[in-house]
């Protein structure tokens, strides 16, 4: 029943199909356990809950804290979910199959990162207004918060994926990844909170957003290359 | 009767939005808790029946 072996084939099409298939597969993997879908969100909500409990429930104080706390929580939520991005693929051998595919690895990697972002960064952006209410962030700050999250979180996913790719070959990378990735997250954190604080105080925030956009552009161009290379190295070791 | 007119009843002394929103939510939650299990039941019964028929046919 096998097709005759034909040395002259390999259609050049199929790149878009592969991207779509991988995106669908990764979303499906996350959605299959329904809990997986809501969990980065719930984690986000909980970190938000811990702050009033741990620090102080006073609205004024919380409002001052809010931009920083929301961004730190977004950062931690991304980081927490990052480790599993390639690990399950590595453990069950899917990663080997992926690296042995004749298609460019970058393509699959981009789709995986996009799927990850949709379930963390995008989801976080969408619940940001709710969080703002809970932390008493002034209403003027909310659009700035959402815009900065929208521009900043994809960078977090991209950079996190580099760390995930580098540590995937290690037996237990769970916490090591934070060590690698957190320093790289700091610019995003600074510009992100800067944007929100500017929005709250009514200052212009285009500067911050432009910087976040620039980081994102840089990340989109360079990160997939780095991730692909890191994966090959991790698997070959 | 603590309201004199229907509009007064609707406005709830300026708090109409809050009161009616609450009661709408309350109704929604109650209905959800009734409709969800009922729909689940019809789905389940249909599914179990289908399987039973399949099992009765196949052996």
């Amino acid at each position: 029943m096998n097709q005759p072996l034909n040395p002259q084939r390999r259609p050049a099409i199929g790149m878009g199909a592969l991207f779509a298939a991988t995106l669908k597969r990764d979303l499906k993997l996350s959605l299959r356990r329904k809990s997986e879908l809501v969990n980065p969100l719930i984690f986000f909500l909980m970190v938000i809950t811990l702050f009033p409990l741990g620090v102080s429930p006073e609205p004024g104080f919380l409002a001052e804290l809010a931009p920083g706390v929301i961004w730190v929580a977004a950062l931690l939520a991304t980081l927490l979910s990052m480790d599993s991005l390639f690990r399950t693929d590595f453990d069950d051998g899917s990663l080997e199959q992926l690296l042995l595919s004749p298609q460019p690895v970058m393509l699959v990697v981009c789709a995986k990162v996009l799927a990850h972002w949709m379930l963390t960064g995008l989801a976080l952006t969408l619940v940001a207004p709710l969080i703002s209410v809970m932390l008493f962030l002034p209403a003027e700050g909310v659009p700035g918060l959402m815009l900065s999250l929208l521009l900043g979180t994809p960078t977090l996913s991209l950079v996190g994926a580099i760390g995930a790719a580098l540590t995937v070959g290690l037996k237990r990378g769970g916490v090591l990844i934070s060590l690698l990735v957190l320093p790289l997250y700091i610019p995003v954190l600074i510009f992100g909170t800067g944007a929100v604080q500017a929005a709250v105080t009514g200052l212009p925030l285009d500067g911050y957003l432009a910087l976040l956009g620039a980081l994102l552009a840089l990340g989109t161009v360079l990160a997939p290359l780095a991730i692909g290379a890191a994966l090959r190295i991790s698997v070959s070791g | 009767m603590s309201f004199n007119s229907f509009t007064e009843f609707l406005s709830m002394g300026g708090h109409g939005l809050y009161v009616w929103l609450s009661y709408a939510l309350g109704l929604a939650v109650i209905l959800l808790n009734l409709v969800a299990p009922l729909m689940e039941r019809s789905r389940l019964v249909a599914q179990l029946k289908r399987r039973l028929q399949r099992e009765n046919q196949s052996p």
């Binding site: 034909n6 084939r9 069950d92 051998g93 199959q97 595919s101 004749p102 298609q103 | -």
Partner: protein, 212 residues
Amino acid sequence: MSQTMLKVENLFCERDDRVLFDQLSFEVDGGEIVQIEGANGSGKTTLLRILSGLSRNYEGEIYWQGEPIEKVREEFRAELLYFGHQPGVKALLTPEENLHWYCALHASLDPARVQEALEQVGLRGFEDVPCHTLSAGQHRRVSLARLYLSDARLWILDEPFTAIDKRGVAAKEALIGRHVAQGGSVILTTHQDLQGSGAVRSINLDRQGERG
């Protein structure tokens, strides 16, 4: 067509200061089955991973159809099917979804034939349960279904019969026989005896280490 597919020259590999093989040279032609033999830990898996391009911890030369393999990675990958110790089956996906993704990775494969392949490996009725509810053997069968889909010319199979029952093994052997009859090549390892797959050339790694 018995043209040389893969040619290995003076391959050397050591792990943890233990030489696994040294000056290992052989060729694999079209229509040939090569069985890598050796005791546990003799370096079979290491060799297969080197040949497939997953591992680069080696010295020596490997040629694919006469070209150094570094130069023709892309073409080589399009012609390769690799089956490793880890079968590459996602536990949360169904067998069908797993194979569909494999088809997407290899653009030349036809997703319409996934059903047929699953049937061939005896997974009819299990197409749409998540793979983690399958038994050990069924789990590996999902990955083995790739053999029925593939149009690659070189198959590299690392212990493909692990956990497979006897009827399954016979079917897989017949399939391998058909593949070589069509001019494909197979490099495999197994600790079981191959029966009825026709002529098998074996390469023994057991005393390789001592030579170096």
